[in-house]
């Protein structure tokens, strides 16, 4: 099992190596200026000398990211459950939820800075807004996915709405909920970083990126992007691994060759 997982990591790793080699080659051969696109070797060099800075940036950003992710996903879930519980709330709340769907980050980030200050809470607030909608939509769809027969069974037990929810509809919704959790890992990453463009203490991955772009320190930009990509991928991978453990019963994990 573990061996297979490791083996699964080989192709993307090789693929990555090929991309990096090509990148290096093209940049060198075509003489692309560093301030447009630095070579991987230059980025690596910059990365190595900047580890303390990158680490400080990482911790600053991760605070807002995690707090926002948890609150955003949690509130999406809760609203979806509320919406699901009564038709009245569904008709009233769902359109409201849809309104939140595309509150553009560039619009809300400055407002959040004004409301919650320069430090990470305002970033968390942006992440909350970004992650809320995918969770809402997916959970609403997921709660619908229990089959009529499965619901009838609960009815024959005279189960309360709450029992039906916990014993049937939430488990049945899990594959959908995990979709949202996965999509939200990357949305949270984007949100936490981009929100820092609009006001922040002078640390953080988003701060670093925007500042270094202004300095044409593009190698540092890419070093930070590297941290973001690795963090984001690890976060996604973690959620995907939990998904596999929790929803092992879903056909997508049961089917041959899946």
């Amino acid at each position: 099992m573990i061996d297979r997982r490791l083996a699964d990591l080989v192709p993307p790793f090789l693929f990555g190596l090929v991309i990096l080699a090509l990148w290096e080659l093209v940049v060198r051969a075509a003489g692309v200026p560093t301030i447009i696109l630095p070579a991987p070797s230059a980025i690596a060099a910059r990365f190595l000398v900047s580890i303390p800075t990158l680490a400080a940036d990482f911790w600053q950003t991760i605070k807002g990211l995690l707090a926002g992710y948890i609150v955003g996903c949690g509130s999406g879930l809760v609203v979806a459950i509320l919406v699901d519980r009564s038709d009245f709330l569904r008709r009233g709340l769902l359109p409201m939820g849809n309104l939140v769907s595309a509150l553009p980050i560039v619009g809300i980030a400055p407002i959040m800075v004004m409301w919650f200050g320069f430090d990470w809470p305002s970033k968390a607030a942006v992440v909350v807004v970004m992650t809320f909608f995918p969770m809402l939509v997916n959970t609403v769809a997921g709660l619908e996915s229990a089959s009529p027969m499965e619901r009838d069974l609960m009815k024959t037990y005279g189960a309360s709405d709450w029992q039906t929810l916990t014993a049937l509809r939430l488990p049945a919704a899990l594959p959908f909920i995990f979709n949202a959790l996965k999509v939200n890992t990357t949305l949270a990453m984007i949100g936490a970083i981009v929100a820092e463009f609009f006001g922040t203490p002078i640390v953080g991955m988003g701060f670093r990126i925007s500042t270094e772009v202004g300095h044409l320190g593009i190698d540092m930009v890419w070093a930070t992007i590297l941290v973001a990509a690795v963090t984001g991928s690890a976060f996604y991978g973690l959620v995907a691994a939990i998904e596999r453990r929790v929803t092992f019963w879903h056909p997508s994990f049961r089917a041959k060759g899946a």
Binding site: I35, E196, P201, I202, H215
Partner: protein, 309 residues
Amino acid sequence: ADNKVTLQLKWVPQAQFAGYYVAKDKGFYKDEGLDVTVKPGGPDVAPEQVIAGGGADVIVDWMPAALAAREKGAALVNIAQPFKHSGLELTCRADTGIKTPADLKGRTLGVWFYGNEYPFLNWMGKLKFPTDGSKDGVKVVKQGFNVDPLLQKQADCISTMTYNEYWQVIDAGYKPEQLVVFKYEDNGVSTLEDGLYAMEDKLKDPAFVDKMAKFVKASMKGWEYARAHPDEAVKIVLDNDTSGAQTEHHQTQMMAEINKLTAGSDGRLDKADYDRTVKTLLTGGSDPVISKEPVGAYTTAVTDKALAK
């Protein structure tokens, strides 16, 4: 013939760039036989990157950023300097008790980054206030587009331009006497703003120099016109605002302030201003913007030619 010129601005269309819009609108460029495209900038557009990537022939930039880019390999050369003065200032609420720069210690200061932080860092270096968050220093926050941090009391002082943010604070209900303003110029740390820059290799071509000369000449005519007819200039700027968000009131204010900054420049770069800027940048705090005296970072060839005509 090749008469196309693309100008990349540093920011969105506003009276700060009135000279160029006027020159285009009034046909001054056309009179010189040029076909000029004016590309607005924005908060995340780095003009240095645009020109290095071939997206523009000439850019409006602040000298610190331009010299930093030059060290990073984008060989920018100042070809003209329509702005004689710096409009950058630090604006504090008077009720914070800040009276002199020495009072800034321990305060929270809003600063623009994205290449605009150099003069500030230099100033703090001079004052020996560390900016890395350590004690005895100042607390720096990256300030967004607007003056809310001051109004919301999230910062004691914020960066403002004489021609824009300062008036937003005033419009928000503050009286001038309720504010304490430190102009960078008054504190000897001002750097040159809003110059015109082109790529060094292109300037080796006399034809290009010639084209730039025509461009600078027409642009300066635009600036003169803007000084003489500020109301008309504001109209022209507003016509070029695609977002439809600018107000005449605000742009009129800005035009007046900008005209103060361009007054006294015929387009030529004053060597003394240049030297002061370079010196400021070289002696900056712990992390100077440029590490060595730049060579060939400006040329008078273009302005000589433009003004000779």
